[in-house]
Amino acid sequence: MSFEGLSKESTDKRRTLLESIYLWEVVKGLAVTGRHLIHNIFHTGDMPTMQYPEEKRVYSERFRGRHRLMQREDGTPRCVACQMCSTYCPADCIHITAAESPDPAIEKYPAIFDIDLLRCVYCGLCEEACPCDAIRLDTGIYEIAADSREKFVVDKEFLLHNRTDGTR
């Protein structure tokens, strides 16, 4: 239903007699709310409320959800621990410790790659900064919950196995 009570006209015009008695306006207001009530009783399906755990809102493809680290074909992280993302991060939520890679073709790999999900503002700048497309926020997961602050700091293993379908 639309907002039928609102008009674009200025509201500081002089009140008419009927409006200053106020009672008639009360009745009109009751009619508006009563109409909504009756409509909603008989058209429960029209309400925008979602029964959340059972029903879930479909977000846009571009929605930035929980992060994931991309893997190479052999399963190692694509990340080369260049620190670009953690430097760029406005919330300072990425912590990387680099280590020398055993593969001679690759210089470094992240020994530790932690993200504090409570600090993260989901701005996506790390995605932009990454030169090897190693970090993405495309999982679409928005149900980020835990029962202690420590559990919100997720590590490399967690991020590597974050999948777009929400399974780990």
Partner: protein, 427 residues
């Protein structure tokens, strides 16, 4: 001894009526608010999957409040802090003593008036008890020793005093017309007909008085648009800010008890109380059989309708939740089919051949039902108004009370007195 038992039975009935209405009103408040605002409202709490459209939530609420920790400010006035919620609740409940919920009930040749205490000055008793209600709120505000609760208490005193006067003036018009302060007299006086077709209800005789009265009742119960003592946008939660657990529950319950009192007063004084319009008591007794038949058939029709609605959900929501809640439509349909079957079974007892004694009892119960129906409607009106109107500003509240309603109330009183003197019908 018999009279004690009789009074006790009436007190218990009245108390159960109020206490039964409180959770129902809490439910109506939440669900009504939600539907008015295009939301679904509470529908999660369930007992074995049965959610009763959110009616289980008040039970969950009570459990929560009972088991919550009772947190109290350290620098409170201990005695008064503990006393205040009880005072509020006591006052809220004790008003019911003088409100007649029916005319009389004849059991075994004994005529029992359906009112707990038929006071000669019942109308004034209501005003007096309502005025004592201020103390609970003020003390709660003061004893908690918090700026916001204190402001709430101060607001409550000024508001209550201002609107009590208007309330008194409004009902004085009724007193002039019916020539009595006894509420049973006033209700009985509203059984007649004006011009032979219009029910002689207070609202017809005193339309302005009714408007003034209902406004004052809204102010006295601290309900929106007059809930300034709570005013959560300005003073957090007002007078009950520092209360938690069961003490808060008492305030919460008292608010709804006040609502039921207000609704009962409005219906008793201005809407004929237990009087059924166009169906005076003798008519009710004469056509008891027919009316009983109509009631039963209506029950069957309504419960079949509900059952069909539930059946529709059975097909539509099969396995929607994947837990106990999926059983609910089937249970609901079954329940309403059972009700319909029970009513049909009652129909088989040939209720239209009801005897004169049964007819009397039926007439009494019908009138009690009419009263309860009116109370429920006006209680709902409280909720409806709350979710429609914005809150008054404090200066607006005072201006309305003293500069608009007080002169109107006085004018109403004078005009009523003049008209009565001219007609010469003031008893």
């Amino acid at each position: 001894m018999a009279i004690v038992l009789e009074s006790l039975a009436k007190i218990v009935f009245m108390f159960l009526l109020i206490m039964g209405m409180v959770p129902a009103l809490i439910w109506a408040e939440r669900k009504g608010a939600a539907y008015i605002q295009d939301r679904t409202g509470p529908n999660r709490a369930s007992i074995g999957g049965v959610r009763l459209a959110g009616l289980v939530h008040p039970i969950a609420d009570v459990l929560k409040l009972v088991f919550k920790e009772d947190i109290a400010p350290t620098h409170r006035h201990r005695a008064l802090y503990a006393l205040a919620p009880w005072l509020v609740m006591t006052v809220a409940v004790s008003t019911y003593a003088v409100i007649p919920f029916g005319d009389y009930l004849t059991i075994a040749g004994k005529r029992i008036p359906l009112v707990v205490a038929d006071l000669q000055v019942g109308l004034l008793y209501v005003l007096a008890v309502a005025s004592l209600g201020t103390y609970g709120i003020v003390l709660a505000g003061w004893a908690a020793n918090n700026k916001f609760t204190f402001l709430g208490g101060i607001r409550a005193t000024a508001q209550m005093i201002s609107y009590e006067i208007n309330m008194g003036l409004a009902v004085m018009g009724l007193m002039l017309i019916f020539g009595s302060l006894r509420i049973t007299d006033i209700v009985a006086g509203q059984g007649g007909m004006l011009f032979g077709w219009l029910p002689m209800w207070g609202v017809v005789l005193q339309p302005l008085g009714f408007v003034l009265f209902i406004t004052s009742v809204y102010a006295e119960t601290n309900r929106n648009p007059f809930d300034l003592p709570e005013g959560e946008s300005e003073i957090v939660a007002g007078y009950h800010l520092e209360y938690s657990s069961l003490k808060f529950a008492l305030f919460f319950m008292a608010e709804y008890c006040h609502m039921v009192v207000g609704a009962a007063m409005i219906s008793a004084l201005y809407f004929g109380g237990y009087q059924v319009p166009w169906l005076p008591r003798p008519m009710l007794e004469k056509h008891a059989g027919l009316l009983l038949l109509i009631v039963l058939v209506a029950t069957i029709a309504a419960s079949l309708l509900f059952a069909v609605l539930f059946m529709r959900r059975v097909a539509r929501e099969r396995g929607k939740f994947g837990d106990a809640r999926d059983r609910e439509p089937k249970l609901g349909a079954g329940f309403w089919f059972l009700v319909a079957a029970a009513a049909a079974g009652a129909l088989a007892l040939r209720p239209w051949e009801i005897g004169p004694a049964g007819a009397g009892v039926f007439a009494s119960l019908f009138q009690v039902g009419a009263f309860v129906g009116k109370v429920v409607f006006f209680a709902w009106l409280f909720i409806w108004v709350r979710w429609t109107l914005p809150r008054f500003r404090y200066d607006q509240l005072m201006r309305l009370g003293w500069k608009v309603m007080l002169p109107l109330g006085l004018a109403n009183l004078v005009v009523t007195a003049l008209v009565l003197a001219a007609v010469g019908s003031g008893k």
